[in-house]
Symmetry: C2
């Protein structure tokens, strides 16, 4: 299916360009040592896990429809488990970046949308884990919960994508202030294309999940 | 249906808050007289038409399912025609805002996503107008085009919503620079809530159209 190819290609280009942005143009990642680059780990982890891996986890039941259900479930849960871990570190790194600069927390619209996405994601993971993965839940509960899980999935994913888009917008303006963005330098064009591929990836995954 | 109520309420709150933002906190609208407020007309027109009215136009076949088809079609086309006009003025006002400040055009990721949304919107309107509204198109063409029209509709809408979210992010950072955003002033909280209602509106409309 074309959709899977578009999702794979646009998703990889998105995070490749964000790697170029972070390591090529804004000083690389650090952890607790440099207030200027502390946010970069957040940028990488959120792009790769909260968008790319969450998206691929969401469509895995459609990319591998003929595999035994339990295998696909384990991959689905495994993708989302690694995202839970990575996102916790990514959130921590953003909070530290604020602390190191003496800034308060959660004042931007990006951070509001972002924290909503993260809380919903944790909730979806816990509910999915206990209801669909552990063997204890009765069939009735599984049948009852599935439509809610399928309703919340794309909603959480699109909220994550909106967080990423506003994050890229903010980061571009912050890193390219003083007229640099205007001059269409390689850095600015890189993050603009990353945002375009983010958009294509998010739309494609949404269509694949909801169709 | 709950979905229609959520869409109506969140959509109205979104543009109400953007009116408060523009007229209460950032100097109101102007046209060609003040480079600082020139962008505000863009902000208002895009929020009200490219998001709110486009969204309601998209779901009108579901909000009024029992009306004669031709009536609903005329409302759908009428909503989108007024959006075409409003968005042209809104784009013009953004371009003028750049010209008045001596800035180049289309260097931000917001403007890239925005111009893609606008071009696709124009295209969708022209195609819809000639194929579904004028009486000349043969039934075969209508049947052929409808799946593409229904595929492109939500795609254009979500691209518009992403443009609006990144626009709000940029505008908040620009208008509340120098530590004002950090202080969680009424202005910052207003645009953050506008972005939240934008998100709720966009997700609700998307689910209503795709279900
Ligand atoms: C996709 C999922 C993302 C989520 C859930 C998310 C979440 C968050 C949260 C909750 C904060 C607030 C930290 C605090 O207030 O202490 C934050 C901060 C930040 N994020 Fe993200 N983020 C995401 C993606 C991105 C991306 C892709 C970028 C940049 C390319 C980015 C750039 C930033 C920046 C610069 C800050 C610091 C300023 C602020 O508080 O808004 N984020 N993020
Ligand atoms: C935050 C983490 C999670 C997210 C964002 C998420 C998202 C989704 C999405 C979008 C779907 C719809 C897939 C489709 O229709 O093709 C889905 C289905 C499903 N998820 Fe999750 N999920 C999460 C965690 C989990 C966990 C931990 C489990 C436990 C195994 C789980 C089990 C399932 C099952 C059984 C389905 C139904 C598949 C089917 O029969 O079509 N999910 N999930
Ligand atoms: C929803 C649809 C929207 C579309 C399609 C759109 C489109 C555009 C385009 C094409 C430009 C570039 C003009 C130029 O380069 O000369 C632009 C600029 C701008 N827009 Fe929007 N916009 C939208 C919503 C918004 C919103 C809601 C806001 C603010 C709340 C906003 C704030 C701005 C600002 C501050 C600029 C000037 C800086 C720049 O070029 O990025 N826009 N917009
Ligand atoms: C840029 C402008 C337009 C956009 C964004 C747009 C969007 C949409 C969307 C999202 C749908 C799906 C509605 C649903 O499934 O409930 C749709 C359906 C439709 N649109 Fe448009 N449209 C546009 C212009 C037009 C125009 C000008 C016409 C001419 C009358 C038109 C005629 C139709 C028809 C006949 C349907 C099928 C309704 C049905 O039978 O379910 N559209 N459009
Ligand atoms: O554990 C599961 O629950 C759902 C379904 O069986 C409940 O309706 C599903 O697909 C599983 O794999």
């Amino acid at each position: 299916k074309t959709g899977f190819v578009v999702a794979a290609v646009s998703g990889i280009l998105m995070w490749l360009l964000m790697f170029v942005w972070v390591f090529g143009f804004t000083g690389g990642v650090s952890w607790g040592t440099d207030s200027k680059t502390e946010i970069n780990l957040h940028v990488i982890l959120m792009t790769v896990f909260m968008v790319y891996l969450q998206g691929h986890g969401a469509i895995i039941f459609r990319t591998l429809p003929s595999r035994p259900k339990i295998q696909v479930k384990l991959i689905h849960a495994g993708f989302h488990l690694s995202t839970v871990i990575a996102v916790s570190i990514g959130l921590w790194s953003a909070v530290r970046a604020h602390d190191m600069k003496g800034q308060p927390h959660f004042f931007t619209l990006h951070s509001w949308i972002g924290i909503i996405a993260i809380v919903l994601f944790y909730g979806q993971f816990l509910a999915g884990f206990f209801i669909f993965l552990l063997p204890y839940a009765p069939m009735r509960l599984r049948n009852f919960a599935l439509p809610y899980h399928k309703f919340m999935g794309p909603l959480i994913f699109l909220t994550s994508c909106t967080a990423a888009a506003t994050g890229m917008m903010m980061k571009a303006l912050g890193a390219l202030s003083g007229g640099l963005y205007e001059q269409r330098t390689a850095a600015g064009v890189t993050i603009n294309f990353a945002a375009l591929f983010l958009l294509i990836f998010c739309l494609t995954v949404t269509y694949l999940v909801l169709e």
